[in-house]
């Protein structure tokens, strides 16, 4: 058979690799700054874009979609060509994919700094960027499938299965979760409300971890680990079973982020059991990776690339064991809303994703530049600094999370809460300091890598088009003797795509549809009414400033939470919340029942400088809220958008909304004046106070009504 000559495209690989390093540093530095803000609130510089609420989404989005995203693309573009024995389908699409993705990242960073956010974690980007992501993702898909369909290799290697599943599932998650109704060029409201929004969001959020941070990275591991170790993959059978089991089960586990919330119990239980069943499929990947090193452990001692990969895979195993444990209700009751979760995800992000990225870069960069790594010694130093960074980051946070949860739950014998919320925060500040030292070490390691890679690149020159040759794919793929049943499916990429899609769609559909259609899941509460126009404006400020990154709005049915915050949250309370704002972390106290708890002037003073109202508070100051004005021109559009989403404002209400808004604002203004505070009625702070005073009070009306009817 005649052999064909072709060239691998290394330029795109190089571009993605450089972007990985660049955005990695940006994301990690943002992380370091937010870590410092925990014990040095002044590090928010009294400047809106650098407050925690805006910077934290920048950090998470940069690390997940910019750092890991570019790392995945670099790895896929490198490995896919070689596993398919073909150049990428289209150089133009590669270019559009690369530059499109970088543009999205820049746009994301800018809009997040400016406060344009949907208020849904890990999906904060607003609607124009959501559309751009969809388009670039489709470009990536065409490029990938084009390559696969024009391959010269008869079967698809396991890494490619993971790439395919990643592509189809991320597309599904992103599109479903990003359903939103725009009311201005850069703002929109989530299509879903309350409980449903929460379920969709965490179905997405959890599977962003699964299908953006796990499956594609497993694919990278399946390529780079056997390559670096020069060992055969341990078990093909294990690959098959753990791949299909993983993608099928993962999609169900989202509700474990919502245990003890107002989500229906049946959905919570599904989240728990599917998380437990996820242990083995996840560990299948770890075992296949580690056992591949059987007979090569002597190499691990010398090769920094393998060192990184071994620790990465081990961290993956630790995270995927811990995750299911955290999904058990009795563990979750302690861990949820604390720093325990933060420690958990950073084992995954720094250990698994970060170390795979570093291992891959150290292995790949010298190869595409036709040279050797400048210094193995420096790479090994990076490895140890990074590992120490992870340990120093995670351990204090585990400790902090556990300690704080225990303090929250403690009662005196008289039946009073033993600790004020603030006491539980100030108690763990030493742990926050240690954590930031860990983060500093980790990012220092990355700078060592940058130096090493720059030196490496300088010692070689880019092999932009790497020559290769292979026989073309025969028309009919011959089989020799007895074959694994699964070989059949590996020959047919389109089937692979369809089956993957069916499998990941099942779990999502079976959880989402009943929550949307069965009424008993969200019992109606008659006294819950839509927000007033001013409250709606205030709520948008709450979302804009990222309050949900530190404050939950979900009182769980625990004795301590009911004592501390008030009646536990009910599903029917959130039916007009587009988007929901339950939050996932309590750096500050829960706000689900903040309405009516303090006077207006308390909130005014507190937002101006939190430490005046609660001495020792680590909350940043929000002085600009006193001067900035709300955009009343947008009020009618906001009301109309809400009407479209089914919020029962009367017909034509959009036109009178601003009059009502001003009336309510003036009331608050007068109220503040009584406490010697002068403010403009249309200041942002007034709207925010209106919203805060409304949160969680509707249900109090219901309780009074019930009492009245009993009399």
């Amino acid at each position: 058979m005649q052999v064909e000559q072709f060239y691998y495209d290394n330029r795109t690989v190089k571009n993605f690799a450089y972007a990985t390093v660049l955005w990695g540093i940006v994301g990690m530095l943002a992380g370091l700054l937010v870590a410092i803000q925990f014990y040095l609130p002044a590090a928010s510089f009294n400047f809106a874009p650098t407050t925690f609420g805006r910077l934290r989404p920048v950090h998470t989005n940069a690390v997940i979609f910019a750092f890991v995203g570019n790392c995945i693309f670099a790895g896929i573009y490198y490995s896919l060509q070689r596993l398919c024995k073909a150049r990428m389908f289209s150089d133009l699409l590669s270019k559009i994919h690369f530059w499109g993705w970088q543009l999205i990242i820049v746009a994301a960073a800018l809009t997040l700094f400016m406060g344009y956010t949907t208020g849904k974690e890990y999906a904060e980007l607003e609607w124009p960027i959501d559309i751009a992501i969809t388009l670039v993702w489709v470009v990536f898909g065409i490029n990938m499938f084009g390559t696969i369909l024009t391959r010269r290799e008869s079967h698809l290697y396991v890494a490619i299965w993971f790439y395919i599943a990643t592509w189809v599932t991320v597309a599904m998650l992103h599109i479903v979760n990003s359903f939103e109704i725009p009311f201005s060029p850069l703002k929109s409201y989530s299509w879903y409300a309350g409980v449903q929004d929460a379920l969709v969001q965490w179905w997405y959020g959890h599977n962003a971890v699964a299908f953006f941070l796990t499956t594609p990275v497993l694919g990278l591991m399946y390529y780079f680990m056997p390559k670096a170790a020069n060992r055969p993959v341990y078990s093909y059978r294990l690959s098959i079973i753990h791949f299909w089991a993983l993608i099928f089960i993962y999609i169900w586990a989202g509700p474990h982020h919502l245990l003890y919330t107002a989500l229906p119990d049946w959905a919570q239980s599904l989240g728990t059991v599917f998380s437990i069943m996820l242990i083995a499929p996840s560990w299948g990947g770890m075992l296949n990776g580690l056992f591949t090193l059987r007979g090569a452990w002597d190499k691990v001692r010398e090769d920094p690339v393998l060192k990184f990969m071994v620790v990465a895979v081990t961290c993956y195993g630790m995270s995927t064991f811990e995750g299911p444990l955290l999904s058990l209700k009795n563990v979750n009751a302690i861990s949820h809303f604390t720093d325990w979760t933060i420690a958990h995800v950073h084992i995954g992000a720094m250990g698994w994703n970060g170390f795979i990225a570093f291992g891959m870069l150290y292995w790949m960069i010298p190869r595409i530049f036709g040279t050797q790594l400048y210094s193995k010694k420096l790479a090994t130093t990076h490895f140890w600094v990074g590992t120490m960074g992870i340990v120093l980051y995670a351990l204090p946070l585990y400790w902090a999370g556990f300690t704080q949860a225990m303090m929250w739950k403690q009662f005196t014998e008289e039946g009073q809460l033993k600790f004020q919320f603030l006491e539980t925060v100030t108690h763990i500040i030493p742990m926050y300091i240690t954590r930031s030292v860990g983060g500093l070490l980790y990012v220092s390691g990355v700078f060592i890598m940058v130096y090493n890679l720059v030196k490496t690149v300088k010692s070689g020159s880019l092999v932009a088009d790497e020559a290769a040759e292979a026989a073309p794919l025969p028309k009919v793929i011959e089989t020799h003797g007895k074959e694994y049943w699964h070989r059949w499916i590996e020959r047919k990429p389109v089937q692979m795509l369809v089956y993957s899609f069916i499998l990941v769609a099942i779990g999502g559909l079976l959880e989402l549809i009943p929550t949307f259609l069965v009424k008993s899941n969200i019992p109606t509460i008659a006294s819950v009414k839509p927000y007033t126009p001013l409250e709606l404006q205030g709520r948008d400020i709450y979302i804009k400033e990222g309050c949900y990154t530190c404050h939950s709005q979900m009182v769980r049915p625990f004795r301590d939470e009911v004592a501390r915050y008030g009646e536990y949250s009910k599903a029917g309370e959130f039916v007009y919340d587009h988007p929901f704002q339950w939050g996932s972390k309590r750096t500050g106290p829960d706000l689900a029942r903040i309405g009516g708890k303090y006077p207006d002037s308390w909130h005014y003073n507190h937002m101006f400088d939190p430490s005046t109202m609660s001495p020792g508070s680590i909350m940043p100051r929000y002085p600009w809220l006193m001067d900035a004005k709300i955009d009343t021109a947008l009020t009618p559009a906001k009301i109309r958008a809400m009407q479209t989403l089914g919020v029962p404002y009367p017909v034509g209400y959009d036109q009178q909304a601003n009059a009502e808004l001003m009336a309510q604002a003036n009331k608050i203004k007068d109220n503040l004046k009584k406490d010697k505070i002068e403010t403009a009625a249309d200041a942002e702070i007034v709207a925010l106070i209106a919203y805060l005073q409304r949160v969680g009070v509707d249900i109090k009306g219901e309780q009074k009504a019930q009492v009245a009817s009993l009399k």
Binding site: K85, Y234, S235, R237, G415, R559
Partner: protein, 390 residues
């Protein structure tokens, strides 16, 4: 003298306990009377039954191992009348195990006797059970070793070429077995012949523990859903909350019944002693000063030093206002943060602020309050006249 006697007595008591424990487990129970109640504890009974059951199993197992060792010794002598160090080591190990058996059971009993089924005894019993399990595993391992050696010996005798059995690292062996690894030299046999950019794939079996672990998690899932949603034998969130609240209420009541802390708005009186005032001042500084200022002059909240009160200025009124709050006016409820006594203390402290001169007093709010009766009892019924707020 008395204390000396007491010491001697308690020492004797301990001696009796220890001796009894050392003589025999049954004896220990006979000497148990000092604290009989813990024996009726079902957990203790169950654990003790397990302890004895395991002990019995160990005895049986030990018998089998000794039998096997004897057999092995015989065969070994037949096959190779030479060194006996290996046999010796086996026997030494066995003796050690037996010694361990002899010691472990009594170790638990004194604890039971002394401490009852407190945490100490519970964990001791648990430790004994675990120790017994470890011994059993050790014995089983011995047995297996002996049987394997016997098999090797048989093979060796059959080929009449006595070779030293390759002493493999037992940890590695265990690990290989656990994962059902194939020896490295057989790798070529399980190579599937796949080649993806130089990456080959092997056809290794699934690690058995992994596979069975997977099955276990699936069974767990079934049982979990069954219990929570079919038989309802496990409490869902709401039920769990109700249970926790009932328990807390009962505990709180039981505590308050026997403590002096049981003050409420009907029974509270003005406290005047210095320690109560100091405590009250402390509570005020940490909780109230943010809104009422440290000197009580008022900012977000009203001035507490003047004679004008929004919700009554009597001790009972103030107590009530702090305890339940006046949410519509912005005063929050403190009953979940402060104990009744603390509320009484801070109430008394607030009363003591009357007439002091704060640095920047807020204008009076509410109606003029006149202390008509000690403790402000009359004021409670007085309808507050709404004074004009300027």
């Amino acid at each position: 003298m008395k204390s000396f006697l007491h010491t001697v007595y308690s020492w004797l008591q301990k001696a009796v306990v220890v001796t009894a424990a050392l003589i025999a487990p049954a004896g220990a129970f006979a000497a148990g009377p000092p604290k009989q109640s813990e024996l009726s504890n079902p957990v203790a009974v169950v654990m003790l039954v397990v302890v004895f059951g395991l002990l019995l199993a160990i005895a049986l197992l030990a018998n089998v191992v000794i039998g096997a060792a004897k057999m092995y010794l015989q065969r070994y002598k037949d096959a190779n009348a030479g060194t006996t160090t290996k046999i010796l080591s086996v026997i030494v190990f066995l003796t050690f195990s037996t010694a361990a058996i002899a010691q472990d059971a009594p170790a638990a009993e004194p604890v039971t006797l002394i401490a009852g089924l407190s945490q100490v005894s519970f964990y001791s019993l648990l430790a004994v059970i675990l120790l017994e399990l470890v011994i059993m595993i050790g014995l089983l391992y011995n047995l297996k070793l002996l049987l394997a050696k016997e098999a090797a010996l048989t093979a060796a005798t059959a080929s009449s070429a006595v070779e030293a059995v390759a002493e493999e690292n037992s940890w590695v062996k265990w690990w290989d077995k656990l994962n059902s690894f194939r020896p490295m030299k057989e790798e070529a046999k399980i190579d599937l012949g796949h080649n993806y950019d130089g990456i080959r794939e092997l056809d290794n079996r699934l690690p058995p523990w992994w596979l069975y672990g997977f099955y276990v998690t699936i069974v767990f899932a079934g049982i979990y859903l069954w219990r929570y949603h079919v038989t309802h034998t496990a409490p869902l969130s709401g039920e769990e909350y109700a249970i926790a609240m009932q328990k807390a209420e009962a505990e709180k009541e039981a505590y308050l019944k026997k403590s002096a802390n049981n003050v409420d708005e009907n029974t509270v009186v003005l406290l005047t002693d210095a320690s109560a005032m100091a405590a009250g001042k402390n509570v005020f500084a940490t909780n109230c000063a943010a809104c009422h200022l440290a000197d009580g002059g008022g900012s977000v909240g009203p001035n507490l030093t003047d004679d004008y009160w929004l919700h009554g200025g009597g001790v009972k009124d103030i107590f009530k206002t702090i305890k339940y709050g006046v949410p519509e006016k912005g005063m929050r409820s403190w009953k979940d943060d402060l104990s009744p006594v603390q509320i009484a203390q801070v109430t008394s402290y607030i009363k003591s602020l009357r007439g002091t001169k704060p640095a920047n007093p807020k204008e009076p709010q509410g109606s003029l309050f006149e202390e008509s009766a000690p403790g402000g009892a009359a004021a409670d019924s007085a309808k507050p006249k709404i004074a004009a707020l300027q």
